[in-house]
Assembly symmetry: C2
Homo-oligomer: 257 residues x 2
Amino acid sequence: MSDHKPLILVTNDDGITARGIAFLVECMQEIGHVVVVAPNSPQSGMGHAITISTPLRLYPTTIFPELPAYECSGTPADCVKLGKHHVLKDRAPDLVVSGVNHGSNTAISVLYSGTMSAAIEAAIEGIPAIGFSLGDFSREPDFSHIRAHVLSITRNVLERGMPKGVALNVNFPIKAAEPLKGIKICRQANAKWQEIFDERRDPHGRRYFWLDGEFVNNDAGTDTDEYALAQNYTSIVPCQFDLTAYKVMDEMERWNL
Amino acid sequence: MSDHKPLILVTNDDGITARGIAFLVECMQEIGHVVVVAPNSPQSGMGHAITISTPLRLYPTTIFPELPAYECSGTPADCVKLGKHHVLKDRAPDLVVSGVNHGSNTAISVLYSGTMSAAIEAAIEGIPAIGFSLGDFSREPDFSHIRAHVLSITRNVLERGMPKGVALNVNFPIKAAEPLKGIKICRQANAKWQEIFDERRDPHGRRYFWLDGEFVNNDAGTDTDEYALAQNYTSIVPCQFDLTAYKVMDEMERWNL
C-alpha cells in the first residue's frame, strides 16, 4: 500500500453476507484499498448499540477472497471500533463507508439505523464517513442505478474532507423506470413510525409481540430527505452527533430549578 | 385515576431489578400515578436499538407490589413503545422518566445510552421526557443527595412542558462530602471514549475481545455537562433528535455532485 490510494473501511448492518455490502465493496475497489469489518449476523435496528457486557469475536473470512475481511459478533458501531483500533491500528482509514443498507434510513430512522451508527461512530473518531441506504427491503435489490452516485459522493468526500463532527446519511430511491434525477442536500424529515404491536400466542399459549409500524410523514417541507426521494432524487443529510438543543438552553435558564 | 395527578411511565436500562429504578419510582410516587415498563435484563450500551427481528415478551411483575409494573424482553426504546402503545393505550402518559442510571451519561455517551434512548423515544412520541443518570457505577449507589433535584426538575417539566423535539439529559455527581451546589443548563461536552480492546483467549484457545476505554475530555469549555459535574453541580443538557447539521448544508451545495 505504498501508492496514494485511500484506505477505505467498509461495514454494514445487514451482515457480511448481504448483497448491499458486496455491491459497496465492488464500488470502493474502484477508488481505494478496501478492508471489510462487518457483523456476522443482521443488526438492523441496533441504533448506536455497543457490546460491553459480552466479549466480542472477530474472525478473518474468505467471503471477499481478494481482500482483508473480518466478520465480527458485534454491532456496526463495534465493527468500526474494532476496525480502527485493532485491524487498522497501524494506519487509520481515510474513509469509513457503511451499507448499502437494504431499506431506507430517512427521517427519524437515522436514530434506529445500524448503518448510520457505524458512520457516526467513525465521525466521532474524526474519520470522514458515509452511510448508504437504498429504499428497497428485498434480499436481492437492483443496485445498478446508484453506482454513479455512490462513486461521485465518495470521491467528493475524499477530495474535500468532511466538516468536523459530521457524517453523511445518503439514501437512494428504489429503481424506477426513469433514471435518477440528481442529488439533493436535505434536512431530516419530521416523519416517524406509528407503532403497531402485533400480539400473538406461541405454541405454549404465552403472549408475544411483533413490533410493526406505519411510516407517517407530517412534514410538508420540500427540503427534506423524504421529499427528495419521492421525486426520484438521491438525498444527502449531513448528520451531527452533538445532540444539544442550543435554542432551548436560554429558555431553560428561566426555569425555577 | 380520576384526580388530576399526572400519569408517569418509568423505565431504565439497567433492568427492572436495579436500585436506580426503585429510587426513581419512589420519587415519582410523590408526584403522580406511576406505571413501570422496564427491561428484564441489563441493557447498558444499547443506544437507540429496537427489537425488530425477534418477538417481544411483556409480563406483569410484582417487584413493585403497589404498582402496575411490567418486565419486557426488549430494549429501553422498546419499553417506551410498548408502554405507550400497549400498556397505556387508553391514556398516554404525561411524562416518561428513565433511570436513575448507575453511571454517568455525559458528553458522547448520550449516543450509547439506553437511558437516554428511552427519553428520546418518548420525545419522538411528543411526550415530555427526562433521563436521569448518577456518576456512580456501583450496584448499591447512594442516591440520597439527588432526591431534591429529581423532584424539582420533574415538577418543572410537568408545569412548563417540554419544547417540541427535545428530551432532557440529567446527570448527577457521585455523592461527595459537600452537598450539591445547584443545577446548570449545559451543552454536551466534546469528550469521548478512547477505546482499548482487551484481547484474551477462551479455554478453547479462541481469541476474544473486551471493549474497554478511557474517557478523554478535550473540551475546555465551562458550559459543558462534564465541567458542571466536576464542580459538583447537577447538569441538564436539552437533547434533540433532529441530527441535521444545518450549518453544513450551504457548504455542501457547492460540492460537485
